[in-house]
Amino acid sequence: MEPITTITGTSVPIMKDNIDTDQLIPKQFLKNILKVGYGRHLFFDWRYNKDGSPNADFILNRPERQGAEILIAGDNFGCGSSREHAVWALKDYGFKVVIAGGFSDIFYMNSTKNGFLAIKLPRDQRETLAAAPADAKITVDLPNQEVRYDGQTFPFDIDPLWKHKFVNGLDDIAITMQYEDQIEAYESKIPQF
């Protein structure tokens, strides 16, 4: 996994609450056996008209919002289905971080597995960020746990274990395999009936 330290980039605000994973990536695009290629289907139902043309009103399609790396969203982001494709789609589109009021537990865990930062900030701070002009740069500084924009600094929390993994780009399975002895010892004590 790519290590993540500091991300500086432009943003897209979609401040709706309860953006579910069916909206992030509808089911017809789950029929793949790869982890890449989902970006063009991100927010599919909002992003494209019925005839397949881009919906010009949807913020992701505006010319000045292209190339954004930071998504600013409402509360309870990523609720619903467990599909990890939602994180793959955000990442494949080019987003590196989503800043929301909160995340569903499964979405959050999926983001930690894919080097995709999910940061919680209160609404007033997110509204400040959401009002940023399309060409304004926002900085997400993971080592210092703060978001910086226009001279303002917003600190955020992250579990030290997840932070360690992000900053070092570590593979979970390799980490866990170091505990093989303990796993075996546990297994020898499982009651049999």
Binding site: K16, D17, N18, D20, D22, Q23, P26, K27, Q28, L30, K31, N32, I33, L34, K35, D45, D75, N76, C79, G80, S81, S82, R83, E84, H85, V87, G102, F103, S104, D105, I106, M109, N110, K113, N114, D159, P160, L161, W162, D172, I173, T176, M177, Y179, Q182, I183, Y186, E187, I190, P191, F193
Partner: protein, 458 residues
């Protein structure tokens, strides 16, 4: 200090890590389906890893399976996913209830049915409705594909222990009101994220009286309230349900003795509690685009309070002040991991018996598993459904999420026993109205919802 059932099971499964931080938890049962597993197996292959405990892993195909002719998978990519799971199961030695197998069905239906789901276990699956298995007094939750790969390789998972929420459900359920109405009523009252970060446990006299199948319905939809797990303590009903099933313990006496340790000492052990009195509960119907947007059948849809409400009304083509009986129903779906079990089909059939669905309604009946289908056929339920004008199908997830050909057309209102009414969930532009099987049966007959309390239930 008093402990919750959840604490007891969790603590027993910790391999390493301190409370408050991510801990490495042992997994007793890992369930797989074809949609969220291919990338996980691919990851194992790339890294030359194998499945650590094939004896604790079980797979089936459910999401993509066509329900008319299961062997005629027309969609190429659906077929690729189905075939890929078959190949992966064979290559890695994972037990599989494959296409056409008697044990095939929705993964959350067959786990309990086969006796794989047992009290005191940690159960995971790459599917958010894994919460269903909590009904047996286990810790059961949905995971993402990277976690599926991790569990396949290590039989463990990193998790931060959630807080615990006790929900006291008490009182006699009124005539015509079911577990589905309890969970829909709870989410309508508390919102779609009240459970985020919590493991929920239901308790109280209402829960004690419920059948295992009703308990599964209740736990199944906990995720729609944000809680990734829901559970209740195992009791004699739980033990009786498990006993004698294909993968049940050989020594039930010893197993029961072990399982009896899993209960919450007292209410003070929960981080927070909620109270739900069901004596006056009404049948619920969802009007909007998330499961919290639901009202009792006799109550008007709410005023528009925010942009989400406005968008939801626009999407479903309804407006504030209308009531559920005014929704023009043209589709009915009976099935899913929420309400696709035998007792659900029996309730729906008891209402449909001797009636015919309204001419404008298309109704699909999709049993939760092949075994349920065969049991229902032995009872003649298939004939009742067919005589009523419903289509009797093969098992699968079907129109709950329409990954197979079973989709609700755009603009059509569907009365559905499933769990999610998200935009486009049952098909692009589909308008889903969640309700209990009894309510959906009445809606299919009448072409609109009716208050089940006023018609009487068999």
């Amino acid at each position: 200090m008093s402990q919750t059932m959840f604490d007891k099971i969790w603590n027993q499964h910790v391999i390493t890590g301190n409370a408050g931080e991510p801990q490495l938890i042992y997994v007793d049962l890992h369930l797989l389906h074809e949609v969220t597993s291919p990338q996980a197996f691919e990851g194992l292959r790339e890294n030359h890893r194998k499945v650590r405990r094939t004896d604790k892993t079980f797979a089936t195909m459910d999401h993509n399976v066509p329900t008319e002719d299961i062997f005629n998978v027309k969609d190429k990519i659906s077929r690729l996913q189905i075939d890929t799971l078959g190949k992966n199961a064979k290559e890695f030695g994972v037990r599989l209830a494959g296409m056409g197998d008697e044990d095939q069905g929705i993964i959350h239906v067959i786990g309990p049915q086969l006796g794989l789901t047992q009290p005191g276990m940690v159960i995971v699956c790459g599917d958010s409705h894994t919460a269903t298995h909590g009904a047996f007094g286990s810790i059961a939750f949905g995971i993402g594909t990277s976690e599926v790969e991790h569990v396949l390789a290590t039989q463990t998972i990193w998790q931060t222990k959630p807080k615990t929420m006790g929900i006291h459900v008490h009182g006699e359920l009124p005539h015509g009101i079911y577990a589905k109405d309890i969970i829909m009523g709870l989410i309508a009252r508390e919102g779609v994220s009240f459970g985020t970060g919590y493991a929920v446990e239901f308790y109280g006299d209402t829960i004690d009286r419920m059948s295992m199948e009703e308990r599964m319905t209740l736990c199944n939809m906990c995720i729609e309230g944000g809680a990734k797990m829901g559970a209740m303590k195992p009791d004699q009903k739980t033990f009786d349900y498990v006993a004698g099933r294909k993968y049940a313990p050989k020594n039930m006496e010893k197993a029961i003795q072990y399982w009896q340790q899993f209960y919450t000492d007292d209410e003070s052990a929960f981080d927070t509690t909620l109270d739900m009195d069901v004596t006056e509960l009404a049948p619920f119907v969802s009007w909007g685009t998330n499961p919290g947007m639901a009202v009792p059948v006799d109550q008007p849809f709410p005023e528009i309070k925010n942009e989400d409400d406005r968008k939801a009304y626009e999407y479903v083509g309804l407006h504030p002040g209308q009531k559920a009986p005014e929704i023009p129903i043209e589709f009915a779906f009976f099935g899913s991991c929420t309400n696709g079990r035998l007792s659900d089909l029996k309730i729906a059939a008891s209402i449909l018996k001797g009636h015919h669905i309204a001419p404008q309604v298309t109704a699909l009946v999709v049993p939760g598993s092949r075994t349920i289908k065969h049991e229902a056929e032995k009872l003649g339920l298939d004939k009742i459904f067919k005589d009523a004008g419903c289509e009797w199908r093969e098992p699968g997830c079907s129109a709950c999420l329409g990954m197979n050909p079973d989709q609700v057309p755009a603009g059509v209102h569907c009365a559905s026993t499933s769990n999610r009414n998200f935009e486009g969930r049952q098909g692009a532009g589909s308008r889903t109205h969640l309700a209990s099987p009894a309510m959906v049966a009445e809606a299919a007959i009448n072409g609109h919802f009716v208050d089940i309390r006023k018609v009487g239930v068999a």
